[in-house]
Symmetry: C2
Subunit: 317 residues, 2 copies
């Protein structure tokens, strides 16, 4: 297991800068009053494909040597990683193969296809996904870019915290949602060197709290098929992300789906950006644990903004 | 009638800078492909009270001498001007009296109240509004700040185009929605001196197309109570805004409510910001008149982001 370093993150940043956006940081006086903290929202939902995952994906894609690049990349994902990897591959002009469960929403498939990703469908089970992916990879020779348990991906995600620290001039804490732990790991990687005084806090849905339980138990606990409105945060930690979480994260807090939806509406109403439910977990846990954040300068990573506008979670189905 | 000058705009900018946000400019590769133009979205919805109107309101409020400031300001409005004027007055610590029809949405009243504005309700008729306002003004001595037909307000709105030109490094056109014409007038005022080669295009709802008809007729035509989803654009031109519209605007285009709603969804989905329907009229007219904008660098002013998230216009009532 190769643990990515601060230098890997710096290299990643140079590599991906021409292909990503330096996203702005938003503030809201109203939310500062409501929480008692000073919040800095890093708008990764403003990346062209709508999620921070374009950072790690671009680092993997643009780091390939010419020979491997010809064969392209491959992954399995039904979420933002699939579209971000397709987007990065399109930017470099190389193939991208994505294995997705046939049950994935049509909107997600459309986005991958729009960026030129080639979709192979599998049954919605781990066995089928792994079999299908092995077959696709054998046929195409595409380099496997894991959604989060990959040093190139983690080094890429770490570039976000670097920008955030530079844009805000220093923070007491950074809060990011945790699913597989890619963003949190990249944040730990960067801040451990750049701003070791800044705490890294992870925010997780109560209904998919495997990282929280892992953190308390001291070893990885993986859940089978959790369900939450924060559907970007369903996957478990893996060895590489567990390394960063267990060594660098200060605390993990959880929030209920109702609290996440309330926080999502507050972000739409007062930050006035379109952020997905997963991105709202940090504000939900800040509102729930005000004492821990009172009077602190807190970076909040809005991880993504890909939302089905016709099915908003606060609207009656 | 005093016509504000470029120097008034520069003074306004110095005066209001500490009290407003320099809002970011957003781009979307997807919308560029869709329109064939290069679009620069100026996010005035990111002002703290959620609309560009905080610029003109702040210029009026912070330009008052101490004696007048003690008596505060007053206006009649049921929209963003009321909350932005209340916000600016709160920032200076002076009274703000607002006359609103008793039928105005509770959310609008709540926002004004949150910023310390004192609301006096009137019947939803011009007669009642004017009588009530005269009474409030006589009792309080508050300085009347008209929502748009006021040189201080127009000079303040003009600061937005100045930022936009500086942020983008030059544009072929700027497109803004037109209601009473405050933003369009400020844009004309600024660009006529700063970038006379940049065309100013106004975008209006078909269902409230009084500015379009005025522009074609060569004199002000005012409609009685038009109805459109773009509810920030219902008011007619007045002498001062007509001056700028008739002398400086290159063209006015209109769009139907269905086209405005489609454009609003595109902005939410691809610019990933919460913008109100009025803000979507420019994109609607660009999509409808692609030839006029093809290959041009086009500034688009997203004027506001105060939306009732429980009643989105594309959701079944």
């Amino acid at each position: 297991m190769y643990i990515p370093t601060y230098e890997d993150m710096l290299e990643a940043h140079e590599r991906i800068k021409p292909h990503i956006r330096q996203t702005p940081v938003r503030e809201s006086d109203y939310l500062n009053q409501l929480t008692g903290a000073k919040l800095f929202f890093k708008c990764e939902n403003f990346q062209e494909p709508g999620a921070f995952k374009v950072r790690g994906a671009s680092n993997a894609v643009f780091g390939l040597d010419e020979e491997q690049a010809k064969l392209g990349v491959a992954t399995h994902s039904s979420g933002n990683h699939a579209s971000c990897l397709s987007y990065a591959a399109m930017k470099r002009g190389i193939p991208c193969n994505v294995v997705m469960p046939k049950t994935a929403p049509q909107a997600k498939k459309d986005t991958v296809a729009r960026y030129g990703g080639k979709i192979t469908e599998c049954e919605p089970s781990t066995t089928s996904r792994e079999e299908t992916f092995a077959k696709v990879q054998a046929e195409t020779g595409g380099d496997f870019v894991h959604p989060y348990n990959d040093p190139r991906v983690i080094a890429g995600q770490g570039t976000c915290a670097r920008e955030l620290v530079e844009q805000t001039g220093g923070l007491d804490m950074v809060v990011a949602p945790i699913g597989g732990g890619g963003m949190i790991s990249g944040t730990c990687l960067t801040l451990a060197t750049l701003a070791p005084e800044t705490q890294v806090i992870a925010a997780e849905p109560e209904q998919a709290d495997d990282a929280y339980r892992s953190f308390k138990a001291g070893h990885i606990i993986a859940d089978d098929a959790p369900k939450t409105v924060a559907d970007g945060l369903l996957v478990p930690l893996k060895d590489l992300t567990w390394h960063f979480v267990s060594n660098h994260v200060t605390e993990i807090y959880t929030a209920s789906d109702a609290e996440i939806i309330d926080a999502m509406k507050l972000i739409w109403k007062h930050v006035r950006v379109v952020a997905e439910a997963s991105s709202a977990v940090p504000l939900a846990i800040i509102l729930k644990n005000k004492d821990a954040f009172a009077d602190k300068r807190v970076g909040v990573i809005l991880t993504g903004g890909n939302v089905d506008l016709d099915k908003l979670p606060w609207m009656a189905g």
